[in-house]
């Protein structure tokens, strides 16, 4: 308690050093947190369709376990086979590909999804204008893309190499990487040569049926497919995105860690050096070394704790403000990222607090009697 008290007083006594210390930590950890939040936001954007399509189980070509940058083709008959599995309420086939949509001078990458007319699942889950169902020759595009392209309901866009009329504008279907465009199942099939294939079968289950159990049952009953719960499928998608960005995140984590460590270690070290005389006085009046070590460590911990809280606040603010700027990204502050940064903080504080201990240990209490000595 006394160690923390001394540390707090020493820390808050020198406002400049305090600001440098916690500002440096906050900045460094913000780098890490913000990057994590951005990638999490990107991953969330990429799984938006999976999360909101309305399926309990996703059935794909055997071995296909995610949506991004894959091709899944199954015979159209798979839909009926899946429908026949016990516990399946309905099975909706969709066609899927990654394509470019264009309108005016605006071009963008899109997950293009072919959805059967009046399908119970697989279509847009929120629209801001026009229809929510796609009729032949029409497309529902993301509202953010339409804004950038200056397109509105009734205008034409190019999808799958053909002109289609915008029937509606969907919300929540944009990520930093792409948008989702919904086209009629038949139009999609004909644009791809009319082969009787489907990309995925979206399954809704009877009430009370466990999704994992049903997925296993589908894999047993239908050869050549992989069936996953929606949560499992989305996790696979996020993992893929995070794996793709793992090196960048690792590098930035390292940068953040070392910058934070350098800032805290330096400020605590300088603070310890400049307070050597007072440490000597404390020793002279009977304070034990462990109290002094504790106060140095507490100073580092307090700096890092405040810096970490500021970094969290900054990242939370970033997450709240970025979507308002029109950028198709909602940075997400995840529990895992917070835990990671908290762990970083503890390690940084421990190292920064331990470095000056040798200096403190070497302070001679008798030096306090030397006039003007800097110890």
């Amino acid at each position: 308690m006394t160690a923390a008290f001394l540390a707090r007083r020493r820390l808050f006594r020198n406002r400049g050093r305090l600001l440098t210390s916690i500002g440096g930590v906050a900045l460094a950890l913000s780098l890490t947190l913000a990057l994590d939040a951005i990638y999490a936001g990107v991953a969330n954007g990429l799984t938006a369709y999976i999360d909101h399509a309305g399926a309990d189980v996703w059935v794909s070509q055997a071995g296909v376990r995610n949506l991004h940058m894959v091709a899944s083709w199954m015979p159209a008959s798979v839909t009926a086979q899946v429908q026949a599995v016990e516990g399946v309420r309905d099975a909706t086939p969709i066609l899927y590909t990654t394509d470019t949509i264009a309108s005016g001078g605006e071009r963008g990458v899109a997950y293009v999804v072919g959805v059967p007319h009046e399908a119970p699942v697989g279509g847009p889950w929120q629209t801001s204008a026009g229809a929510s169902d796609v009729l032949p020759g029409s497309v529902i595009v993301d509202a953010a893309f339409a804004r950038r392209a200056g397109a509105s309901v009734g205008d034409s866009v190019t999808v799958l190499g053909r002109e289609m009329r915008v029937a509606g504008l969907s919300e929540g279907t944009a990520s930093l990487v792409n948008t989702v465009a919904f086209v009629p199942f038949g139009d999609f099939r004909s644009a791809r040569g009319g082969a009787p294939v489907v990309s995925f079968v979206l399954v809704r289950l009877e009430p009370g049926v466990d999704a994992a159990v049903a997925a296993a049952a589908i894999e047993r009953a239908v050869p050549g497919v992989t069936a996953q719960t929606t949560a499992g499928f989305a996790n696979q998608e996020r993992s893929l995105v995070m794996d793709m960005s793992a090196d960048v995140i690792t590098i930035m984590n390292g940068v953040g860690f070392f910058v934070a460590l350098a800032v805290v270690a330096l400020t605590v070290y300088i603070s310890t050096l400049s307070n050597r005389r007072e440490f000597g006085v404390l020793k002279a009046i009977g304070a034990r070394d462990r109290l002094l070590y504790g106060s140095v460590l507490a100073q580092a911990l307090i700096s890092v704790a405040i810096g970490t809280l500021l970094a969290l606040a900054f990242t939370a603010l970033l997450a709240a403000l970025v979507p308002r700027t029109g950028i198709a990204l909602a940075p997400a502050l995840t529990g895992a990222a917070v835990l990671k940064v908290a762990g970083f903080g503890v390690v940084v504080a421990l190292i920064a607090g331990l470095l000056p201990i040798r200096q403190v240990a070497r302070i001679d209490p008798a030096s306090t009697f030397r006039r003007g000595a800097t110890l």
Binding site: M1, T2, L6, R9, R10, F12, R13, R277, E278, V281, L282, K283, A284, I285, G286, A287, R288, L291, D364, P365, A366, T368, F369, R370, R371, G372
Partner: protein, 311 residues
């Protein structure tokens, strides 16, 4: 009077080989309870080293320091903080208050270090500071205090754990003469009213007035002390043992020579000049000189002995 602190044959050597310096050489000193001992000597004579060794801040190269029967110079590093905390109160020339703590916190901290609950430590601190006239400065940071106030805070800090010995290093050095006298009075009352032993290292001759004993340290050794007196005629410092002396009105006066004694006696024995109010030119000076020449001042009969190293 029980012995509280004894330094026996203490030697302190800094460095080694050709560059070795003997700061203390076989120093012996005993400080009794309630006694004020003033250690004087030229700069570099080893005064501060002696004080540090007495306060368990520094280990002697040889010799022992015994506090109330316990040889503290042989204690382990682990045991020394407790000794410093409970047995000694330190007063520094530079005050050495912790700059980030308020006046009250500076004093209470020492109580807390000794294991007092925070509330009890604060209560003691407030009581002491109030007693020392700092009740309206409790929440001040040291930088806002005058030198005298800082030193009073340092004295409160030294007293808060009720130590048996106060070790003060040049306690009046950074203070003006009025505040210096105030601090001296305070140190004296600590010794006499609270029964604490006080060891003061100082160049300040005024502290002789409050000291029970003055020791002279030079070249790392304590010199034999001789009682000094001032010749009432010429004002010269004289060694009492070697001086010409004369008992007059129950007082023993000391002179540098027979000539001064004769002159003094002649003045006193001469018939008073006629006229009731004609001044005697030397009367005031002689009265002062007589006071100086006394073995002790009237109000500090056993204190303030004028002593000087025998050369």
């Amino acid at each position: 009077m029980a012995t509280t602190l004894t330094v026996r044959g203490v030697t302190k050597q800094f460095g080694a080989g050709a560059s070795a310096v003997d700061a203390l050489r076989g120093v012996g000193l005993t400080v009794d309870a309630g006694e004020i001992v003033l250690v004087m000597g030229p700069s570099g004579s080893g005064k501060t080293t002696l004080l540090s060794i007495m306060g368990a801040l520094l280990r002697p190269t040889a010799g022992t320091v015994v506090l109330n029967g316990r040889t503290i110079s042989e204690l382990s590093e682990h045991d020394l903080p407790a000794i410093r905390l409970h047995e000694f109160g330190f007063i520094f020339q530079d005050f050495n208050l912790l700059s980030a703590l308020t006046v009250e916190e500076n004093v209470a901290l020492v109580g807390e270090l000794a294991g007092l609950a925070r509330s009890e430590a604060r209560r003691r601190a407030v009581d002491l500071l109030t007693e020392l006239g700092l009740a309206d400065r409790l929440s001040f940071l040291p930088e806002k205090l005058s030198g005298g106030e800082k030193q009073r805070v340092a004295i409160a800090r030294a007293l808060v754990n009720d130590p048996s010995i106060i070790l003060a290093d040049e306690p009046t050095a950074n203070l003006d003469s009025r505040i210096g006298r105030e601090i001296m009075r305070l140190l004296r009352s600590i010794a006499k009213e609270r029964g604490r032993s006080v060891v003061i290292v100082s160049h300040d001759q005024r502290i002789r007035d409050i000291a029970d004993r003055v020791v002279w340290l030079e070249d790392g050794q304590l010199r034999d002390l001789v009682a000094m007196a001032v010749d009432p005629v010429c004002g010269m410092s004289v060694e009492r043992d070697a001086a010409v002396s004369e008992e007059r009105d129950g007082e023993r006066l000391f002179f540098c020579s027979r000539g001064c004694r004769s002159e003094f006696l002649g003045e006193l024995d001469a018939p008073a000049p006629s006229g009731p109010s004609e001044p005697r030119p030397l009367a005031g000076l002689m009265h002062m000189a007589r006071q100086y020449a006394r073995f002790g001042s009237p109000d500090t009969t056993s204190a303030g002995r004028q002593q000087h190293p025998r050369r």
